[in-house]
Amino acid sequence: MIILGIETSCDETSAAVLQDGRLLSNITVVQYVHTKYGGVVPELASRAHQKLIVPIVQEALTKAHIERNEIDAVAAVHGPGLAGALLVGLSFGKALAMALNVPFIGVNHMEAHILSNFIGDRKPKFPYVNLTVSGGHTQLVLVKDFFSFQLLGETVDDAAGEAFDKVAKMLGIGYPGGPLIGKHASGGNPHAVEFPRPYLEKGSMNFSFSGLKTSVLYYLRKSGFDKAKADGKWIADVCASFQAAVVDVLAEKLISAAKTCGVGDIAVVGGVSANAALRRRLESEAQRYRLNLFLPEFEFCTDNGAMVAMAGYEKMKQGIRSSLELTAEPNLQLAS
């Protein structure tokens, strides 16, 4: 069974081809047009997707050595994400499925991220606890089966990746904030500034990063920070200290959720799961608590078509199909 997966929910245009659960190709273009604006610009994102969608799908097919008429189903993300951006991939996917007369499968972006740990040979065993961390989301989920989830906790204000982006903007180091803060942090001292660790009330599996963002802001104001004159080592220390606060909270909440749920496997997905400090910390915590840790390869941390194709494949196996009338849902939630 050959599945084409399409992802256009934010600023990555991506397509992938999967044959019987094995990935044949995954082509992703990140729209660096946003770099100079310090964030994703919806109209630019949507226009870039329109330009890229056809060549990227073609490239994914060519690289997989698959002809269009060999596709058995088309899967595309229909939410959550930016409305205009979602529409491009969704409309293209539906039109292609209709033209080829094959099933169309609408995929929830959050489900797809969780399934990014099923690309490759080493896969987590159900039930397990998954942490999704990206620019738009911070969620702890008990994954009971491919499409059976229990939301354990989520952010009550800003997503972890959003905090990275906004702190990067305050420091004037550019966009995307996650990778750039990670890069600066690698040369800094994580104990230089004691930023608060927002754990919320005892036992809470929710997250809050808005207060941490404000603490960084106050630290910058108090220190008389000036983008033009800032010293590289000083910025590295602030980045490392901020990153350490986020990593502490993410790691501790994930481990404590795994203990509460009594599971042996834990997983982290989403753009922030590419963060080196987070990966290192989780690897040592997993070893300490004898948990099996699953992290996607870097290529599958950020938005990608492979995870969408994987979700489409599992849905096909379960006989799940979508109507061609499926619409984009920018605020789509993870189904329980």
Binding site: Y37, E43, L82, T155, A159
Partner: protein, 148 residues
């Protein structure tokens, strides 16, 4: 109408917003101004609490627009739009978001980073200006009804 409040915690900001939200009627637009971290999202959170929004109010920076279902003082269903223009570059992009739905509809609309609305700024609106105070958790919130 001009109200100015000094708050010393997130809880106090939320309480000010809750009191303010009782003034809101269908079709009202609340334009929020203020820097990163000055309390705009917390203010909307408080106002939505008073409007009985069922879902939890989180930052819409990523998807630009959140929609919640609340209830008015008579207990009737009320749509609440929470718009965040942080990522918007030009007012033209707001057309793409379907702004007719949240400006001039039957719901109540909150717009963060309202300075980006440009000519789309409604003539009648509440303006909420959030600013930092002296201490880390201090904020000042100025609320003004504008009728141009």
């Amino acid at each position: 109408m001009i109200v100015e409040e000094a708050t010393q915690s997130v809880q106090e900001t939320i309480a000010v917003a809750q009191t303010f939200a009782r003034l809101l009627r269908r079709g009202d637009i609340v334009a929020l101004y203020g820097d990163l971290g000055s309390g705009k999202t917390q203010f909307v959170k408080g106002a939505c609490k008073a409007l009985h929004a069922a879902a939890s109010v989180v930052s819409p920076t990523f998807v630009i627009l959140h929609r919640y279902e609340g209830r008015d003082s008579a207990g009737k269903e009320l749509l609440i739009y929470h718009v965040d223009l942080y990522r918007i570059q030009s007012p033209n992009e707001i057309y793409d978001l379907g702004y007719e739905e949240f400006f001039g509809g039957e719901g109540i609309t909150f717009v963060e980073w309202a300075d980006k609305l440009g000519a789309l700024l409604p003539k009648r609106r509440y303006e909420v200006h959030c600013a930092y105070g002296e201490k880390e958790n201090d904020r000042t919130i100025r609320i003004e009804l504008i009728e141009e």
